[in-house]
Each structure stands twice: as C-alpha cells, then as structure tokens.
C-alpha cells in the first residue's frame, strides 16, 4: 500500500507543479510579494533621501534685521542641502503676509519669517516668535521629511541661544551639562534580558506580519488543496481514480501529502521573500540617517537591529520549535479542511471559492489576538485561546514573551486534535459514495447554495 501511496503522491505533485497557476500562486508570488514590498518601502526611503539631497529651497523673510535674525539666517544657510533666499521686509509691511505670499508662489519648499522685534525680544529674554511655513506638495514621507531638515536647524539655534545665556550666568559650568543634566539610556527588558528599545520597537512595528504571513501562507495552501481536488472534479478523473485498486482514503492522504510538499516549497519561498524584506526594512533607516546625517536631522532616529540569534535567544528554542511545528500543523489543517470541503465543488473555480471561505472565519480571531495580552485574560478567555485553530505559531511567540508556555502546548494539542479529526472524518468521506455525487453549486451571482447529496 505504501508503494501505491507513493505513486499517487508523485502523480499529485507532478500535476500541481506543472500547473502554471500553482507555480505562480505558490512559489513566485509569495517571495516576490515581500521582495517587492521591501523594494517599494526602500524606494520611498531613497526618494526621501534624494529629495532632501536635491535641496530645500528656503525663503528667509527678515522683518527684524537684528543680530539674532542674522544668526538664524547663517545657521539656516549653513546646511549643505539648503538654498536660502533672504528677503528684507520694509517697516510697516506685514511679515506673515509676505511669507504666505512667498509660500504660495510655489518657488519655495519652506518659508521662515522673522517678525520685527525678534532680536529685541531675544536680547531681553522675552517670548519671541519665528514663523515657519512648509509647503506641502504631497502626502508622501518624502514630502514631509524635506522641510524637517531645515526646521531641525531651528532647534539647534534655540540650543545655541540657551547655551549663550547659560555661559553668561554660570561662567564656570559646562553649558552642555546644564542644558542636558542627565542622559536617558533606554533599554527594554524582556524576560530578564536587556535589549535596545529602538530595536524592539522596530520589531513590534513589523508585528502585523505575524498576521499577514500566516494569512498569505494559509490562503496559498487552501488554494492548492482546492486545485488538487477541483481538477479531479473538473476533468472527471475522480471516478476512475476511486475505482483503481486503492482505498478511498489513500486519495485523501496522497493529496494531503502532495499539497503539503508544495505548500512547504511555498513556505520556503515566502520565508525567503520575508527575509529579504526584513533586511531591506531594517537597513533602510540607516541609509536615510547617513544620507541625511549631514544636515543634523534624523528622520527615523533608528540604527541597529535584532539579529536572528538574538530573537531566538529572546524567545527560547522551545518556543521557536513549537511555533515552527505550529506553522506546519496549521498548514496541514487548512489542507485537509480544504481538500475535504472542496470535494463538494464541481470544478476548480468552485473548489477555490469554497476552500477560500471555509477557514477564514476560523482565522479571524487571530486578528484580535495581536492586541491582547494572554495574561490579562481570565481563565475562560485563556481556555478559548488554547482552543483557537491555527493559533499555535502566533500564540507560541506571545506565550514565549509573556512566560505562559502551557497555553502554546495546549493549543498545539488542540490543533493536532483538529487535524486528526478532519483526517478521520475526511477518510470516511473519501471512502463513502457521496464524494462522487455530492456537490455544492455556485450560483450565477457567485453565492454558494448548499445542496449536498443529490447532484448528478
């Protein structure tokens, strides 16, 4: 029987990998998607840096004419990327009006306006105002980052003034220390290990992938499982197949094994794309920081990342193993469910519609899980969590962080039980006679109408 199963599996795999749609959906799209996503984000970042390097056209509207505005002007024009036009305003003309006019002209990215009396106010330590108009040309990161480069300079100007005062008031003290009496060194402590806070934030910011990744993976798996049974119905090969000297359940087993093989290839492809993406995303802030660094501005203020070994250490090897096993178990469950359910379809399209819907409602609760802390749930909530289908990988990562490992083992066990149950029921279904004739028909409108048992 093992020999026949092998023959069946190899037939299934061959039929799947020769289908250009499967190759596209399972192998190319998953990796390309992430690679393209990474490239898109990287491209945006590069564009931002490029925009900044192209220069920021600044109008400096001077209604003051004192030393303080002179200093501000020289600081603003000291930045290598800024081109500053200085516009003197005659007495009596409104500085704000003039600045707005210039901003509206479209010639400038930024207009800095210094009202009359600025120097006087600064000198006598009275509240003074500088008006800054940034011209917004779009809703992109690049559009926002550009004026920031110059406005960042205003901050250093402020510092410069304060230090001057401090030097005058406390000639024997270091103004830098006075200005900044202590430095905050921030680290996050996870399970007794200290990690750079920024690296952790970066990791958290990508945590949507914990939902998106499995979503893509499982829908891929459902899609190939549906194709593998849908084609039998569409091409009318199932009747012959079931009459061969094999058991009906061997058809289910061989399809499960074959689609698992293809799904694992898809998973590897997805992981490859994901790795490329993470590399790109993690390296990106560094690029920008270094390119924009000359100006003193730090659009992202991030440098450094978490290595794989650090993540592994953080989570614990046990957690990672459970997570990986959980991924395969989830794939297996989706495959089995999809094969069994889409055997009710009459063709590939119907099969994929059925397989596409069946597991989504089961998967949706995972979305809520991203925002929950396991430990903040009551016993009932935790029990529900422990029984959620497809939850093992995500739960393992969370449980690993929160230090409640029992819940991931419980979830692993329930998911194993689900798979075995579907396997058992599926085997019976494939041994029965309804597999040939049962059909859920898709209506013209594309809705699914339940009609089990008597189709011809």
């Amino acid at each position: 029987m093992a020999r026949r199963l092998k023959v069946l599996v190899s037939k299934e795999v061959r039929e799947l990998v020769r289908d250009p749609k499967i190759i596209l959906v399972m192998i190319l799209v998953p990796s390309l998607m992430f690679i393209i996503m990474g490239e898109a984000v990287g491209f945006a970042a590069e564009k931002t840096a490029e925009e900044i390097l192209k220069g920021v056209d600044t109008a400096f509207v001077d209604g003051d004419g004192g030393w303080a505005s002179d200093l501000l002007y020289s600081i603003a024009s000291s930045a290598p990327v800024s081109r500053v036009d200085r516009i003197q305003v005659t007495h009596g003309e409104d500085v704000a009006d003039r600045a707005l006019e210039l901003a509206a002209s479209g010639r400038y990215d930024l207009v800095i306006a210094v009202p009359q009396g600025f120097t006087e106010n600064i000198t006598s330590a009275r509240p003074a105002v500088v008006l800054v108009y940034s011209v917004v040309r779009g809703l992109s990161v690049a559009a926002g980052a550009k004026p920031e480069v110059v406005t960042g300079l205003l901050e250093s100007y402020k510092e410069h003034l304060v230090k001057q005062w401090l030097r005058r008031a406390f000639p024997d003290k270091d103004p830098n220390v006075l200005l900044n009496p202590f430095t905050v060194v921030e680290e996050a402590v996870v399970k007794g290990k200290a990690l750079p806070q920024q690296a952790l934030s970066m990791l958290m910011s990508q945590s949507f992938l914990l939902f998106l990744g499995p979503l893509i993976l499982l829908s891929m798996a459902a899609s190939i499982a549906a194709a593998s049974i849908g084609v039998e119905k569409e091409e009318k090969t199932l009747e012959t197949l079931l009459s061969l000297p094999i058991r009906g359940r061997d058809v289910l087993f061989s399809k499960a094994i074959a689609t698992l093989i293809v799904a694992v290839i898809g998973t590897l492809s997805l992981s490859l794309g994901f790795t490329v993406y993470m590399r790109r995303v993690l390296s990106m802030p560094l690029e920008i920081a270094s390119q924009a660094g000359a100006t003193g501005a730090q659009p992202y203020g991030y440098s450094g990342g978490l290595g794989f070994s650090q993540v592994l250490e953080l989570l614990g090897v046990g957690t990672v193993v459970v997570a990986v096993v959980g991924v395969f178990l989830s794939i297996m469950l989706v495959l089995l469910l999809s094969i069994v359910v889409s055997s009710l379809a009459g063709n590939v399209r119907e099969a994929q519609a059925l397989a596409g819907y069946i597991w989504l409602p089961l998967f949706i609760p995972l979305f809520a899980m991203m925002f929950l802390n396991i430990t903040s749930l009551g016993p009932l909530g935790q029990a529900v969590l422990a029984m959620l289908p497809f939850a093992t990988p995500l739960l393992a990562l969370k449980a690993g962080f929160e230090g409640v490992p029992w819940i991931m083992y419980a979830n692993l066990a329930t998911n194993l039980a689900y798979s075995l149950l579907v396997l058992f029921l599926g085997a019976r279904w494939f041994e029965g006679e309804k597999i040939l004739t049962a059909r859920i028909r898709a209506r013209r409108r594309g809705l699914i109408r339940g009609l089990v048992g008597t189709g011809r």
């Binding site: 026949r4 023959v7 039929e15 009318k236 009747e239 012959t240 009459s243 000297p245 006679e433 040939l436």
Partner: protein, 253 residues
Amino acid sequence: MSKDRLLSVERLVKIYGDKPAVRGISFSVDEGEIFALIGPNGAGKTTTMRIIATLLKPTSGRVLVDGHDVVSEPLEVRRRISYLPEEAGAYPNMTGREYLEFVAQVYFEDPGEARAAVERGIEYAALGDAIDERVKTYSKGMKRRLQLARALMTRPRLLLLDEPTSGVDVVHAVHLRRVVKRVAREEGSTVLLSSHNMLEVEYLSDRVAFIHEGRILVEGTPGEVKKRYGAGNLEEAFVRALEEQGLSLGGSG
C-alpha cells in the same frame, strides 16, 4: 454459484434519496463472456456499473465479482476490475504516456509488468506522437481512446465499459471494438458494457440485457432476443421491447 461465473448481480436495488434508479436487477456473466446492458437514458445502466465498480453502495441485493462482495471486500474487487466511466478524463498536465504509466504503476508492483501494460495501452490508444503530448491538448475522442486503452491495458478479470466508444470516430471505434474483443478472447477478460450503439453491441456481445426503469425486460444472446421480438436487428428488438411495455419513445428518462 458455478465456478466460471465471474460476475453475479442478485436482486440489486439502488435508491437515491427516495428516487429508485435500480429496482431489483439480477444477471450473471461467465468468465470470458461479453455482456451488454442496453436501455434508454436513465434506465439505470451507469448506476449498476458504479455499484459493481464499488463506487456506490447498493440499497439492497448483492454483487459478487470473482466471488468477492463489492460492499465487504471493495479492495479485492478493485484489484480485479478496470472501470471506464461514462464520463472520464485524464489529468490535463500529464502526457498520455505519463497517464498510462501512472495507472499501470497503481495496478502492477512489478516494473516490467507495468511497462508491458503501458506498451499495450499505447498500442490500443493508437494516438501516434500525441501520446507524448499533454492531455489538455487532446480532442474529446482522443481522450476517450486514451481512457479505453487505460482500462484495457491492465488485462483485468472484469472490464466495466460504460459507453466505451461514445465520441470516438468510426475508424477508431472499429479498432477499439476489435481490441475489446481480442482482450476478451485472448486474455480471457470478462466484459460488461453499456452502449447506445446497436452495431457495437451486435458485434461485441455474447449476451445482452434490455434494462428499462431499473428492471431487466429481457436477457439472452443477440440471436435469442431478436427472435423473441421477431426483429431483424437489435435496434428493432429494443424498440419493440419498449413498445410491449406500453411505452412510446421519449416517454422515459
């Protein structure tokens, strides 16, 4: 039960939901015999074949293939049969040869036997160079020839052929009928077939049964049946048999 009775169908009943499709059919086919089921659309031919092929469970009655019960020993039965469904296709992304290889490997453990079966299949299908092209490029008739060749190449004890040559052109249909006859005569395979083509039935069958609304009206050699209705050919005999039932044509289905 005599020793050389390869197929016996006893008071077979099949009801779909509450719709009876087969209402107590009994017949038996001896080893090496070619037996044809003839009947109008919806008579219950395919249902009977599917039960013998272990794909459907009978509502009541008993079917034995080479002494094995189709319900309690389906695997034993499947090892002895080769079933050509009424509507059957092959995997679109395989070549014809690969498809035959796949089926042969399922049937035969010995690679040599499997290879010999594939060679026979290729000869029966007579597809020429197309045998190495993907099935999705085949015409309807080419697919049918591949299927029939697939069923014949394994030299089963019992061949179940549901409308074997439907959709096949005249020349290839003649070739395939010769093959069916040869396989039955030379390999000793027993054949149960259904057909709407009376020429085919007359050429192939040792015995025929007329089925109507799930019941057998008459059974015998083509000669006996023709004589019984005083008909010159099977087609005429069939029409008269139905008229005798008080049925006008087209009133069933």
